[in-house]
């Protein structure tokens, strides 16, 4: 967790999670991974979108947990779901045909075309870090109508070249998704602890379009392993409101106390 911003009384991670949750205001269905995406999606359901349908790859459709789940198969997800279905069904009948609006993903490495690595750091055969791997991400990235990526921005993560391409954003640029037969539109936005990046409509390259309060363009460029393009009009993210912070902290507290005696 980053240090508390002295002016606003919130952390960069809290700003990132709130900014990600706001992205779900108009979504109706969201495929959720565990970690930051799950926190943001549940915050969105609490604050802005009570009818948002959360879908977890364990087969929980329309889960409505009143606390953060500790894993994608947490019992609270099954108990509160509209339907509990099998894993083949969630991928084949619900994700693959394009029924889900938004796929929410994290990344260990990200490149300028929003391609994601969650497999290895270093050489595949002799990795310096063996990461968990693909999980549901490649097909979430392929088949949701659009994607949102939540990731902390630094040079280890924002790289010129991925060590391994696990999930496709825009491949090597315009036209690649169509050529590969990926039917979703691809990532719509990348939310970081510094600001917001969006793909350029022409080049598909991630462009810095907003900074969170207190962040600078220089900071964003320093944290990016390629020559970061900055939008002509740069917005400033609205800082987290008291209601947003209170709801987020209430949620994260439920996770910390979950399962401990």
């Amino acid at each position: 967790m980053t240090a508390v911003d002295t002016a606003g009384g919130w952390t960069a991670d809290e700003m990132m999670t709130v900014a990600a949750a706001r992205q779900l205001r108009s979504a109706t269905t969201c495929f959720v991974g565990i970690g930051l995406p799950s926190t943001a999606a549940n915050l969105a359901r609490t604050l802005y979108a009570p009818d948002l349908v959360l879908i977890y790859e364990s087969g929980c459709l329309g889960a409505k947990p009143n606390r953060l789940p500790a894993s994608i198969g947490d019992g609270i997800l099954a108990e509160t779901a509209t339907a509990v279905i099998t894993v083949p069904e969630v991928f084949n009948y619900w994700l693959q045909p394009g029924r889900i609006d938004v796929g929410f993903l994290a990344a260990a490495q990200l490149d300028r075309f929003a391609n994601i690595n969650t497999t290895v750091i270093g050489d595949y055969a002799m990795p310096s870090v063996r990461l968990p791997g693909a999980g549901g991400a490649p097909e979430i990235a392929a088949s949701c109508r659009e994607g949102i990526i939540v990731v902390r921005q630094n040079r280890r993560t924002f790289v010129e070249k991925l060590d391994f391409l696990t999930s496709v954003g825009f491949g090597s640029g315009p036209g690649d998704r169509e050529a590969l037969g990926l039917r979703g539109r691809g990532p719509r936005t990348v939310i970081t602890d510094i600001g917001v990046l969006e793909p350029d409509p022409e080049s598909c390259e991630l462009t810095l379009t907003a900074l969170h309060p207190g962040s600078t363009v220089e900071q964003a460029k320093d944290a990016t392993g390629w020559d970061l393009v900055v939008a002509r009009t740069l917005h400033e993210t609205e800082p987290p409101g008291a209601d947003e912070l209170a709801a987020l902290r209430r949620l994260t507290t439920t996770l910390e106390t979950n399962g401990t005696p």
Partner: protein, 277 residues
């Protein structure tokens, strides 16, 4: 008809060195007691199959049971890394581990093909990813009707599939509910099977969202109370989230890991389950 036997006899009768073995259960109903019995019986050179290796395969890999892992997501859910898995991949400890990795959709469809008696499954997946370059078990195919290029993965037909369920009746019909993951497909894809259950009852009262596997489709049923701990069994006990967090420290160090396994698995009898943790 499934034979209802002891866990020790079921594992001894089913699992041989070199087998391809799937112990399934997606976060819920993970068959830990059965895995511990495989470890106690000293099986090795296994090809272990599972979407999410979880702590169950971290333990089997660290105890030297596995030659190969076929999987799609290898982390400690909600906590972080699987240290025994990482150590085996990076350092070959205690034995080298070959990996074949897929996505969840790919693995799920491999079981579906296996259960369906088909040689392969077709899906929209993997295209544009580096996963396709690492195994021959992901290949493109052109649809004969539309000309569209799709992806195929071969059927998975494990020598043995093991799952855990809430209960069975005396005839060996099995009932599970809650998150049932890929268990039905993994069981029906296998050449032989074992389902461990919390209890055997006279009659299987219907439950919402239940999956029933008829006795005649199974090889063995064995009673293993608390047999999914530290994962959970809906209606019986909750997930031991604290243990999943503790595992991070236990598994980081080779010596501490081996000592923990000696104390809690090797020296525990087959009837002990994992209740003593």
């Amino acid at each position: 008809m499934a034979r209802v036997v002891s866990l020790r006899d079921a594992i001894a009768g089913l699992v041989e060195d070199g087998d391809t073995v799937a112990l399934e259960g997606f976060t819920h109903l993970i068959p830990f007691a059965a895995a511990h019995e495989v470890i106690r019986q000293g099986r090795k050179d296994l090809s272990l199959v599972r979407l999410t290796p979880d702590l169950i395969y971290d333990q089997m890999i660290g105890m030297g049971c596995a030659r190969k892992l076929i999987f799609s997501w290898g982390g400690n859910p909600g906590v972080g890394s699987l240290h025994r898995f990482r150590d085996a991949v990076a350092e070959g400890w205690p034995v080298p581990l070959e990996v074949e990795e897929h996505s969840h959709a790919g693995m799920a469809n491999r079981y579906v093909a296996g259960a369906s008696g088909l040689p392969f499954a077709v899906l929209r997946g993997y295209r544009g990813t580096d996963l396709m370059d690492q195994t021959e078990n992901i290949a493109p195919i052109t649809c004969p009707f539309t000309g569209e290029v799709l992806t195929t993965v071969p059927a998975l037909n494990p020598d043995v599939t093991v799952t855990h369920a809430q209960r069975a009746d005396r005839a060996g019909n099995v009932q599970m509910w809650g998150i049932t993951g890929v268990q039905k497909e993994a069981l029906l894809a296998a050449r032989s099977t074992l389902v461990t259950v919390e209890e055997v009852v006279d009659e299987l009262a219907p439950m919402p969202g239940q999956v029933i596997i008829p006795s005649w489709a199974l090889t063995y049923v064995a009673v293993a109370p608390n047999g999914a701990h530290p994962s959970y069994a809906d209606g019986y006990y909750e997930r031991d989230n604290a243990f999943y967090r503790e595992w991070d420290a236990i598994s980081r160090d080779r010596t501490r890991f081996r000592q923990w396994m000696a104390d809690h698995v090797l020296e525990a009898g087959s009837g002990a389950g994992v209740a003593a943790i």
